[in-house]
């Protein structure tokens, strides 16, 4: 819960300015960008995600290093399971392509 998960911003939604599709190790999930409203990420940027909310922008290298840390801590599987959102992903929204 306290370790951040790195992800790459894939798609932003013009009608929903705070929502983005983010990819984490091949898994895509919508995350909320509202906590970065002062420095909004663009498509292709990397972010650190805490419990479904992007908390900071980071470089690609730092993102890869953070993923490596999660793998070394044995927490990468759990992180990916978390990113899958326990099946709640897009319960009421169209799937991003």
């Amino acid at each position: 819960m306290c370790l951040a998960i790195p992800g790459k911003v894939i798609e932003l939604f013009p009608g929903l300015p705070y929502l983005a599709t983010v990819e984490v190790a091949g898994v895509r999930r919508k995350v909320d960008l509202g906590l970065l409203e002062n420095d909004m990420p663009k498509s292709g940027d990397w972010v650190l995600i805490h419990v479904g909310f992007a908390m900071s922008k980071i470089s690609e290298q730092d993102a890869l290093e953070q993923m490596q840390t999660l793998i070394m801590l044995g927490e990468s599987e759990q992180a990916i399971q978390e990113v899958r959102g326990y099946g709640l992903e897009d319960a009421d929204e169209p799937e991003a392509s």
């Binding site: 819960m1 306290c2 805490h50 419990v51 899958r84």
Partner: protein, 375 residues
């Protein structure tokens, strides 16, 4: 040094370890507290103790949200969810934490509607998808997760969702550090500061530790090299007789923190006059509650909360371990009645808890050695 082979750059690791050996005064015993449970997990996982000189002692701090939550709050939250119309949602970490009448998972087995969510936003989605139910989110965590809960409540208000509430157990890290420094049985030389909490609060809130308490603090990343570098920075300060706040984790932590996250928190939350912490007792202004303006989303005001107070099992010494007075294996229940499979105390539940970390790496290793020993 089992895990050294996995390090990305063993040569740099070795050089940093050498620097640490050069900096330590062999006549001195160093007590460094890593505040964050993520660091505790990493220290055991990476076997960092094996790399450090024996006169550097790492004391595990209070930064494990599941571990510091008093048992009564779990019982309170579960009590609210006994209403058949209520769906109890919480992070996976919470699910196996025992209350007096069992953990959330055990309540689920008895028929309570208990669901794991990854994000408070998922709990809100669940509320939207089930308008005839009331979805309660059992919120825990320090400043790493509190902004997300705050923003979820703001979103719920904006979207006009009325069947959603938060049972707020968010706590703040600074008063816990203050309580530890005020504790008479605690002697510490310096702090390894939490990494991800600091992405939100920045480094400025730690300045009193350096200025008033004259203790060095270095905000650190989570890789083995990050932590070793942070220890180098602390030792340099100690050697020079300095006390400063330094930021080893600059690539992620801005000095000023995340202003949008702080704003969301202050819009939705206010400080409670006091809050009980497991092991540390009541600490004033150490936890967050929902402001009047968002009262409709406050489970404590929507429902009647029993206000259960439970003392920990007498034999369990979670408090002493949590304060760093005892090592996990010095607790009478450790590895016998209390294991990760059957936890008695919360420190054994979360991977960030020092007992679980110690059990999973040190204790299992020791048991394997014992079993492998010829009779």
């Amino acid at each position: 040094m089992k895990f050294v082979d996995e390090f990305r750059d063993p040569e740099v690791i070795n050089k940093t370890a050498e620097e640490i050996r050069r900096l330590v005064d062999p006549a001195r015993h160093y007590r460094l507290m890593e505040v964050c449970g993520g660091h505790t997990h990493a220290i055991y996982r990476f076997g960092l103790k094996d790399i450090l000189p024996s006169n550097i002692e790492l004391i595990h701090g209070p930064g494990c949200p599941v571990c510091v939550l008093p048992m009564g709050r779990i019982d309170d939250g579960l009590e609210l969810a006994k209403d058949s119309n209520v769906v109890f949602t919480a992070f996976g970490d919470m699910m196996r934490v025992p209350g007096v009448q069992g953990s959330p998972l055990e309540h689920k087995a008895r028929g309570m509607d208990v669901r794991i969510v990854y994000s408070p936003a998922d709990a809100l989605k669940l509320a939207k998808a089930n308008p005839d139910k009331h979805v309660m989110f059992f919120a825990i965590g320090f400043e790493t997760t509190a902004p997300s809960t705050a923003l979820t409540i703001i979103r719920a208000r904006a979207e006009g969702i009325h069947n959603f509430s938060v049972f707020c157990n968010h706590v703040t890290i600074i008063p816990a550090i203050r309580a530890i420094l005020d504790s008479p049985d605690m002697r510490l030389d310096a702090f390894i500061g939490p990494g991800h909490v600091s992405t939100v609060i920045g480094c400025r809130p730690y300045e009193w530790i350096a200025v008033n308490e004259h203790k060095p603090i270095v905000v650190s990343g989570f890789e083995p090299l990050d932590m070793l570098q942070s220890i180098v920075m602390l030792l340099r300060q100690l050697k020079a007789g300095e006390a400063k706040v330094e930021n080893q984790y600059k690539r992620v932590v801005p000095w000023e923190g995340n202003r949008a996250a702080l704003k969301a928190m202050s819009n939705v939350f206010e400080l409670r006059p006091y809050f009980e912490w497991r092991g540390l007792g009541f600490i004033s202004q150490s936890a967050l509650r929902i402001r009047d303006n968002y009262a409709e989303f406050d489970a404590e005001r929507r429902f009647s909360v029993p206000g259960v107070r439970v003392t920990d099992p007498k034999a369990a010494q979670c408090g002493e371990v949590l304060k760093g007075v005892l090592k996990p294996a010095q607790c009478k229940l450790f590895g016998r009645e209390c294991t990760p499979e059957h936890p008695v105390g919360a420190l054994m539940v979360s991977s960030e808890g020092s007992c679980a970390a110690y059990y999973n790496y040190e204790h299992r290793k020791a048991m394997a050695t014992t079993l492998a020993w010829p009779a």
